[in-house]
Symmetry: C2
Subunit: 280 residues, 2 copies
């Protein structure tokens, strides 16, 4: 396994892989790797391709009051996990490599799917995400890029960006990996106290209740959302940000839920903001 720090070296490595006629699978991450990332890496490995994992905490996707400075950086542990998962290349660039000149004036912006939900709560977030993913696509020229369904809106925004900017890249989604009690794996789970961690299961429980009601014949989106809200309220440390049931491709809210629609929620647990979702 090779660790690459510079854009120029990354580009050279890509050229060598392409000369060898080999495919490339990219897994973009912000590090602090956990078993959710391991599932992405295994999906990448299945693509019969050289696996590149990028590890870069991208400043432009964090808002001014968000957790950029305290976001977990665990490079040594990340390295061990990547070796275990037979990664070919770790691309871990510096800020100076990713933002030469100290700032950027050219941006990639998706202007439909990115407007609502996370985009509304985190202004500039998806502009930062789209721009850094485009940069990683440009530096690694992958055939396949793997993204988790845990960040469902991000997945859809990236799919749209990939189509609209004519990237010849297949976006491969991977189902959310969960703890035994249902909590979706997230690098931000580290922020939770023991008490908060216990209560954080409420996100998954709310989604499960929506699924149960839906299976039992309740398709009214408002009533499903109300049931989820009530579940969240049962956890004293939890404060609901949003809960919505949306159409999976447009991310627009539905009145009558159908199979394939997606329940999305964002909840503050103490000072930690968590998101989760479930495809009905």
């Amino acid at each position: 396994m090779k660790v690459i720090r510079s854009a120029a070296e990354m580009h050279e490595a890509v050229a060598a892989v392409k000369r060898a006629g080999r495919r490339i699978a990219l897994v973009p991450t912000m590090g602090a790797l956990h078993e959710g990332h391991a599932a992405l890496l295994r999906k990448a490995r299945e693509q019969n391709a050289a696996v590149i994992v990028s590890i870069y905490v991208n400043p432009t996707q964090f808002g001014p009051n968000e957790d950029l400075s305290r976001y977990p950086r665990t490079f040594d542990a990340d390295l061990t996990l990547c070796i275990r998962e037979s990664v070919d290349v770790i691309f871990a660039p510096t800020d100076a490599e990713m933002y030469p000149g100290g700032q950027t004036t050219a941006w990639v912006e998706e202007q439909a799917l990115a407007k609502r939900l996370e985009g509304e709560r985190r202004p500039g977030h998806f502009r930062g995400v789209c721009t850094i993913v485009a940069k990683l696509f440009n530096l690694t020229e992958p055939h396949v890029a793997v993204f988790g369904q845990k960040d469902f809106q991000q997945l859809k925004v990236i799919e749209r960006m990939t189509r609209d900017l004519s990237y010849p890249i297949q976006i491969v989604p991977v189902p959310t990996v969960r703890e035994p009690d249902g909590l979706a794996l997230s690098s931000r789970n580290q922020y939770l106290s023991a008490e908060e961690r216990a209560q954080a299961v409420v996100l998954y429980r709310a989604l499960g209740i929506a699924q149960d009601l839906f299976n039992g014949g309740e398709h009214n989106a408002h009533r499903l959302q109300t049931a989820m809200q009530r579940t969240i309220q049962l956890a004293p440390a939890a404060r609901l940000d949003y809960v919505e049931i949306v159409e999976s491709e447009t991310l627009l809210p539905v009145h009558e839920a159908k199979a394939g629609n997606v329940a999305l929620l964002a909840v503050h647990i103490g000072k930690t903001r968590l998101i989760d979702n479930l495809i009905l």
Copy 2:
């Protein structure tokens, strides 16, 4: 020479070139090729690379009242010129290939250099240009892309976009090719009547007067601009849009002109809008 119409076929051809270890030089055009384009193609040929020329009249860079529908389409003549210049691949996609789904919601936008001058007069123009060039970069994965200095602001916007989106692509500028009387070659020169064509030389004459005054020691930008304005006014068919002297990298106006600054102008000749520039 190969003519490719689809994105998928283009991507396959690129993969084959890369497997062969060959470099790729891209020349993006809107067709209606003239000797200015031929200079771009020859510069591309010098790069020791497979030369891809794209021919695509991109609708998203035209404003609603601009000349999209009457922009000259001369594919047979373009083909002849490309054969003469030993082009390897013509990529001439359909609108459906370039804008699948009929529209795009993800855009590339440069937000500093693109704001003023052409960007101010043609809202959305550079967003369309940056987006289509990014799409062409993504489909052809070139090592080098060649652009004319005739569209000086476009060249600078593309250079910035290439840097800020981490494209591992070298942007190669080519000096403006001119008619014997000095008129810069442009596909839009075809719109001019014989009388207008005769008067259109006034753009180059104005630039020449600025250069002469500068060489003679006049460095006050305001006085240089006034001299250019007066020259334009001598042509009855001419109506000045803007004339500016700017710093070449920031495109910001200067008070005292220095060598390397750029005089830029846009002039309506009858109903045809022409641009030109000169590096002092």
